[in-house]
Symmetry: C2
Subunit: 462 residues, 2 copies
């Protein structure tokens, strides 16, 4: 842009050069939601009118992945744009779940301080940044959002908490405003997070901003308001509560989306909706069908998530993008949209996906993608996915042809199995050893849960 | 034994009731020796007359295993009779090799204090116990042999050192008499260790004793005396040095064996000779043929070792025992021979192998055996061995039919593969997470070294 153009813009009453050009960015991030548990994903049970409208306003990614099937590592990948195991964030960080042999435990587990977050990158581009809701990237003060690229925060440091006020809030459950000012929510937390985000948006309407609205919905505990529960008289038990929690989640997203519209800044705002990992069906009655598997395992049900992106000025309505993308891509996508130089991101594994969505770039954003937790690991190369297990031979699937991973092709394509195994190991050798270690028993739990949510699996012919 | 019998023995001049009945126990333990690098194993290059004589005096185990293909974990299994990964001793403890993410590092790595050693068990049976040579089970004082079941010690705490005196000995290289009295050897260390052991034997000839003579031979550094080198004029380079070091090792074993004879206590002394893991052929020119593989990988060349046991009063001369046994068996074998109640060892994975050697018990001492380091793991069930790799599909071998592991049977017996995979995982779930972690790059090194020493491998037909 030339000088005279800038002057012209100022004369036309724009509050700032940046305000007009840089898109705002809102990342709506759900927790433990099932793959199919949204209207726009095909659910006949859940009611999500606001998110369905968001889906219609932009692109739906049909193969949107997270970088891990559990909360903490998935968020570490999202926040850094890197395979989180590269810096040792390989296993989920839950204070009570760790082995006594773990190097780090309790509040000492967190996103290593030498890693830069989306917040850090966008702050450098002049953005005001805020995080709401669940953090789960470290309880110690040094890991606090305000120390990791966010200007404002309202939420809790841990991985889960009640949706209502605690009488005696403790530890990483405590709801916190910015740094150290603790105040429990006065109504249902999902709504409160969205209201706080809407307030931030209103205060920052004249400058570019980034909102990371990290709902704990629909993670356990299974808690909903009486009013939301009443909307599902035909349902019972956990499924009823899940539906009510999802309705609240959708309403909260609507609070933010409506605020953008009300302020007239919706057209130049990028809104992403996604979810941190597959639904843990045994815990919260979530459904990942037609995908097999759940949270904490590497079948599609663990790592493929609902994934929407809207940017009315740039992305075509009601479009679909079918090649695999991953939450690692959000950092470079946002950074590039914010005017950042993509050359700054040489050490990042994500790619800017906007040129692919806009069909300016052909082909796949990623020829190959990887996942790992201890012996369990996955490589997705093109349409094929190899899963390395600790307790059974590796399995090979053609994912687009076999979305439920029912037809193991390992014996049919032995050379492909060997070649992908090798690539998986080569990638593994680029990772650090884990910074913390879960108790061994969770590995058994994860394998058992995978088996439980794997109907109709057809073993390879020998 | 009745009172009058005891009195009779005393009248006959026996120094004590125990001295006559309880066998002495001498464990001669080599370091990093090649499977074939002994006369009794078939070497045409190495000269080991004393060990060959020992082999002829008792039983040779043709499938004798260690519990890990690296020094530290193998010794932790030997000392406790347990799969060492059960208490987190899964990876080798070498201070400079550890990941910065390792929970324990440097001198803090060691055999956990809640574990009982062979020394502890034999002390309880009234034995005088002594350790000579390489310890490698922890550098910190609390891990010192004198704190782990040994009455006397001369050696060094670490994993390797020079065979000659250092001018400025440092850290875990320092040669130590008992606790904290440091004195460098005045001649070749292999000989010094044996002389110290012989002296201990002489001083304890009238009471039951246990000697753990843990040579660092033939670990690097490759150092031999001029005189020993002269015995191999036809050899050059590392092979020449290895032959000279092996000759010294054999001579040192002879020093101890001759002392037993000289004192007239050889008939009621159990002597075991073995080695901590397969030869690292790239480092010390050792040869594991006909086995494939080396130290630090799980082919037979990494985990199967020369293994002799002699007890003239009980074990038949020149016998061979062909079912798999493992160094974990030494603790219960020694303990039972010492009069200990095997019921005390319920938590041990080894078994007393003497009844098997004596043909009092039929069948296999172990229906199943396991090994593990991270993703790499092995289950040996009956004659079959399944190897789980990080970088290629699991392989299945019939070990007695295919000693070199050339014919991968995985595709031929898919049901066996599945069943063994499951058993391997079930066993893995009984282990603790590792107490310390190597740098990632060593995994690559181990895999590369395995590939390098794997000639003539024939992949499974697809």
């Amino acid at each position: 842009m030339k000088l005279y153009q800038m002057l012209l813009l100022l004369l036309l009453g724009q509050q700032s050069f940046y305000a007009q050009n840089k898109p705002n960015i809102v990342l709506l991030f759900a927790d433990d939601a099932g793959y199919i548990d949204f209207g726009f994903q095909g659910s006949k049970v859940m009611k999500t009118p606001n998110l369905d409208k968001l889906a219609n306003s932009g692109v739906t990614f049909t193969q949107g992945y997270v970088s891990d099937p559990t909360c903490g590592p998935s968020r570490a990948g999202l926040m850094t744009g890197k395979y989180q195991a590269r810096f040792g964030y390989e296993e989920i960080n839950v204070p009570g779940f760790m082995s006594s042999h773990s190097a780090l435990k309790g509040d000492e587990m967190g996103l290593p301080l030498d890693q830069q977050t989306i917040g850090n990158y966008l702050q450098k581009q002049g953005y005001k940044t805020a995080a709401y809701g669940k953090w789960h990237l470290g309880n110690a003060d040094r890991f606090h959002p305000l120390n990791r690229g966010f200007d404002e925060f309202y939420g809790f440091r841990g991985g889960a908490r009640s949706y209502f006020a605690y009488k005696n809030p403790k530890g990483d459950h405590k709801m916190e405003t910015n740094f150290g000012k603790y105040e429990e929510p006065d109504h249902y937390a999902t709504d409160v997070f969205a209201e706080k985000a809407a307030d931030f948006i209103e205060r920052n309407k004249d400058n570019p901003f980034f909102v990371y609205l990290s709902f704990n919905a629909v993670h356990t505990p299974m808690e909903a308001t009486e009013e939301d529960l009443k909307q599902f008289p035909h349902l019972t038990g956990k499924k009823k509560t899940l539906a009510a929690m999802t309705l609240a989640l959708d309403r909260a997203c609507g609070t933010v989306l409506n605020k953008l519209k009300e302020l007239g800044i919706d057209k130049n705002t990028i809104v992403v909706f996604s979810n941190d990992n597959g639904g843990p069906s045994d815990k919260n009655a979530s459904t990942n069908k037609p995908l097999s598997g759940t949270k904490s395992n590497h079948l599609e049900g663990g790592i493929r998530v609902p994934f929407l992106m809207s940017w009315p000025e740039k992305i075509k309505k009601k479009s679909r993008y079918n090649y695999p993308i991953i939450t690692l891509d959000l950092l470079p996508t946002f950074y590039a949209a914010a005017g950042g130089n993509i050359e700054d991101l040489k050490d990042i594994n994500g790619v800017n996906i906007l040129p692919f969505v806009a069909k300016e770039k052909e082909g796949r954003p990623h020829d190959i993608l990887f996942w790992k937790k201890e012996t369990r690991a996955v490589v997705r190369e093109g349409d094929y996915k190899l899963i390395r297990f600790p307790d059974r031979p590796a399995e090979l699937y053609n994912v687009p042809n076999d979305i439920s991973e029912r037809y193991n092709l390992a014996n049919q394509y032995p050379e492909k199995v060997k070649s992908m195994y090798k690539k998986l190991f080569d990638w593994e050798m680029t990772l650090e050893r884990p910074l913390w270690l879960l108790k061994r028993k969770y590995e058994q739990y994860d394998v058992d849960r995978m088996n439980q949510y794997r109907e109709g699996w057809i073993p390879a012919k020998d």
